[in-house]
């Protein structure tokens, strides 16, 4: 009984803590509901794809794929090239994906092989691998681009003639996917104003009378995310998906029943890396600027934190976890600095607080998972001895 209660608490502790924090912080921040909804919708569109890319390695029992930053870097390299060539709009995004895909596949295969050599400590290895490839990425982008790899656009390059600038503007593809099917949700008044300003090519999806102002909906991005969710649900039912789940349960048994364990694990990582590459491109088309040397770092940490906040653990994650996580994590992200400012008079504290929460929550989730696993192992050992 007590153990069951403990399990329920341990399984849902993280989202519960977050709902509690948000319940305090939202009124303190003083933001209006429509502002919060708008921000959340934008951020769901921006981040969900990246987070969804983490699901498949978890299914294959490889834990949180900290190596997703490899995919993010591949995506960024694709974006750098389309900026250089001046390809804009949806064709630009597609081209960036096409350039990123082979790089992501190669990096994914590399990552998969490394992780197969480090079974049992995949997470810390993929984490360090992220740093290692970051070094290689910096070498390529900072020294080889413009020197060995032709980059002709001078606005991309540092003044010394080679190496890419720290901040690259992505004006050419900014918001192209989000605004492909411009859609708003608006109150009666807001709808009128919005349609007047934006013209007839905006669809009014929903009219809610009590709402003030208008909320933009990045519909095309949402459709892509929905398609991707459908892909994951379908993928779980395929032979490959079933193999991955079997490996996630027990590698030894899977091997005996004829599943190529190492190969399947590599495929899981490759899929995750390629998807992270697309995810990063979607993320950056929304942001509109590329921080050449930082964007990918943050992508990994924030995605993993969000997934864990959604109630996922190292061995179990669902699509629902992704969306709950995005909403709760970014709710805190939006309100924490304002709440900090209104509470203590310093926005900096809210800023540090959300950094602390991002790391603290990953630590907490990892601890809870390891603790639970060790307790289960103990229990299994006891039951072998015949004790209760």
């Amino acid at each position: 009984m007590i153990r069951k209660f403990f399990d329920i608490v341990a399984n849902n502790a993280v989202p519960a803590i977050f709902i509690l924090i948000s319940a305090f912080a939202i009124p303190l921040s003083g933001f209006s509901a429509s502002y919060l909804v708008q921000e959340l919708l934008t951020r769901i569109g921006r981040n969900s794809f990246l987070i969804l890319s983490l699901l498949i390695p978890i299914m294959a029992g490889m834990g949180l794929n900290f190596g997703m930053v490899l995919g993010a870097m591949a995506g960024q390299i694709g974006l750098l090239f389309i900026c250089d060539w001046g390809v804009v709009g949806i064709p630009g995004m597609v081209l960036a994906c096409l350039i990123g895909t082979p790089i992501a596949i190669v990096l994914g295969i590399f990552c998969g092989h490394i992780l197969n050599r480090a079974k049992g400590r995949e997470m810390v290895t993929s984490y360090i691998l992220g740093f290692f490839i970051n070094g290689v990425y910096q070498m390529v982008v900072l020294y080889l681009m413009g020197w060995v790899i032709p980059i002709t656009n001078p606005t991309l390059l540092l003044s010394r003639g080679y190496g890419v600038r720290n901040a690259v503007s992505l004006m050419g593809i900014r918001g192209v996917l989000d605004n492909l099917l411009p859609t708003v949700i608006a109150g009666t008044e807001g709808a009128k104003q919005f349609l007047n300003v934006n013209g007839a090519n905006t669809y009014l999806l929903l009219q809610i009378p009590c709402l003030d102002g208008a909320i933009r909906l990045p519909l095309a991005t949402f459709i892509i995310i929905a398609l991707f969710c459908a892909f994951i649900i379908w993928f779980r039912k395929t032979k490959l998906g079933q193999d991955m789940r079997a490996i996630g349960q027990d590698q030894g048994v899977s091997h005996s029943s004829g599943i190529p364990v190492n190969r399947t694990r590599i495929i899981a990582i490759v899929i995750s890396t390629v998807l992270a590459c697309y995810g990063q491109i979607i993320y950056l088309q929304n942001m509109g600027t590329l921080n050449t040397y930082n964007s990918h770092d943050q992508a990994g940490m924030f995605s993993i934190a969000a997934l864990l906040i959604g109630g996922a653990s190292v061995s179990r994650a669902s699509i629902a976890n992704v969306f709950v996580g995005v909403i709760l994590f970014h709710l805190m992200f939006i309100v924490a600095p304002m709440a900090g400012k209104n509470l203590i008079g310093e926005a900096q504290i809210g800023e540090y607080f959300r950094v602390f929460v991002s790391y603290g929550i990953i630590a907490l989730a990892l601890v809870l998972h390891a603790w639970k696993r060790n307790r289960e192992r103990e229990a299994a050992r006891r039951s072998m001895r015949g004790d209760k």
Partner: protein, 370 residues
């Protein structure tokens, strides 16, 4: 013979050692002063040595590489900042003790004033050690509950404690004018100079000037040697042996009556204390206390150093520390100067990233010998 040597040393280590040797050979030809390079390598060796030493107890006890080193560093930072904040009080207390107790009568006003810098340095360490012990004890208890996942959790314990302390540095009631932000009168600065307190106190002690470019920081090297000897002796006491036994084979150790969890906790406490002392030694040479996000990535160079020296995820010795720190810091000092003269560009940051993380990856993917 050579094949055996390569096998025992490992390819990455040989490549990196050869790379460093090449840098030292190339240095005079590209106009880099070999003495200056050697001087910098020695100083950085002394600065980082104790933090690398901090890896030994946890590796030996089977807790893996201490990616949670920032926790110990935080204890050190608290000790360092408190020693400056309370500097005048501490000196006053010492004089008071000197007048009260006969056997402390050497603590006269003149003595305390003359030696206020060493006293300040000692007080930083004395304040830091109990803080590190307490933090390390909790950290050890936590790691005992998560056996098998220590390294990943250690990383995030380090990160979250650093970001938690970011809030604390802003809110703690420090008052000392050289440490808090001038306009607000509260909240610690991001970097605090230790000039006038204990700047280069170990570096300059007994320093030997070989020529104008090379100055051997004898005091700091002696401090490192003493700490290393203490660790060496500790690892050979009954507790130290039990600790190694736990790391080699926990089941066997348990069967022979060793309290596994207790040994692991002791190793973590020791590692944390060494981290705290290490950062203070680092700061006295560097000249600044770096707060906020400063300690964030400090575990990685230390981890990479000991692995470079030949340690594995579950075996490490003092010799590994010395060789590793020397190689790693050597590369850090030599690459910028040599590469700058040859290519007119500083690639040291990229090389540091690739070498240190490549080394950690190599260690993590190596088959563990039973």
């Amino acid at each position: 013979m050579i094949g055996k040597f390569i096998k025992s040393a490992g390819w990455p280590r040989i490549i990196i050692a050869a790379f460093l040797l090449g840098l030292f050979i190339a240095a005079p030809f590209v106009g880099v002063n070999i003495y200056t390079s050697f001087n910098n390598t020695l100083v950085r060796f002394g600065m980082n040595g104790i933090m690398v030493l901090a890896m030994i107890p946890m590796v030996q006890a089977g807790c893996g590489l201490n990616f949670g080193l920032p926790l110990g560093i935080i204890a050190g930072l608290l000790g360092a900042t408190l020693s400056i904040e309370l500097n005048t009080q501490i000196l006053e207390w010492l004089v008071k003790f000197g007048t009260q107790y006969k056997y402390l009568s050497f603590l006269s006003q003149e003595f305390v004033t003359a030696y206020r810098q060493p006293i300040g340095f000692a007080s930083a360490i004395i304040i830091a050690i109990p803080i590190a012990a307490v933090l390390g004890w909790f950290y050890g208890k936590l790691l005992n509950r998560v056996k098998g996942d220590e390294m990943m959790i250690a990383t995030y314990v380090g990160f979250s404690s650093v970001s938690f302390m970011c809030i604390a540095w802003l809110l703690l009631p420090y008052k000392h004018p050289t440490m808090v932000w001038g306009y607000a009168g509260r909240g610690l600065r991001t970097t605090i100079s230790v000039e006038g307190y204990w700047l280069r106190i170990l570096n300059d002690a007994l320093a030997i000037d070989v020529n104008e470019h090379l100055r051997i920081p004898t005091g700091m090297l002696i401090f490192f040697a003493v700490t290393a000897v203490i660790v060496w002796i500790f690892m050979r006491t009954k507790t130290g042996t039990a600790l190694t036994a736990v790391g080699s084979n926990p089941e066997f150790a348990r069967a022979s009556g060793v309290n596994v969890d207790r040994m692991r906790t002791i190793s973590v406490v020791m590692s944390t204390i060494l981290g705290a002392v290490g950062i203070i030694v680092y700061e006295q040479s560097f000249g600044f206390i770096q707060l906020y996000m400063g300690p964030f990535y400090m575990a990685l160079p230390a981890v990479a150093s000991i692995l470079l020296g030949g340690a594995s995820v579950n075996k490490a010795s003092i010799l590994n520390v010395i060789i590793g720190t020397f190689l790693f810091q050597g590369i850090l000092t030599m690459t910028p100067s040599v590469f700058n003269s040859v290519f007119q560009t500083d690639m040291s940051e990229v090389i540091r990233l690739i070498v240190s993380n490549g080394m950690i990856l190599y260690a993590l993917t190596r088959k563990v010998r039973a």
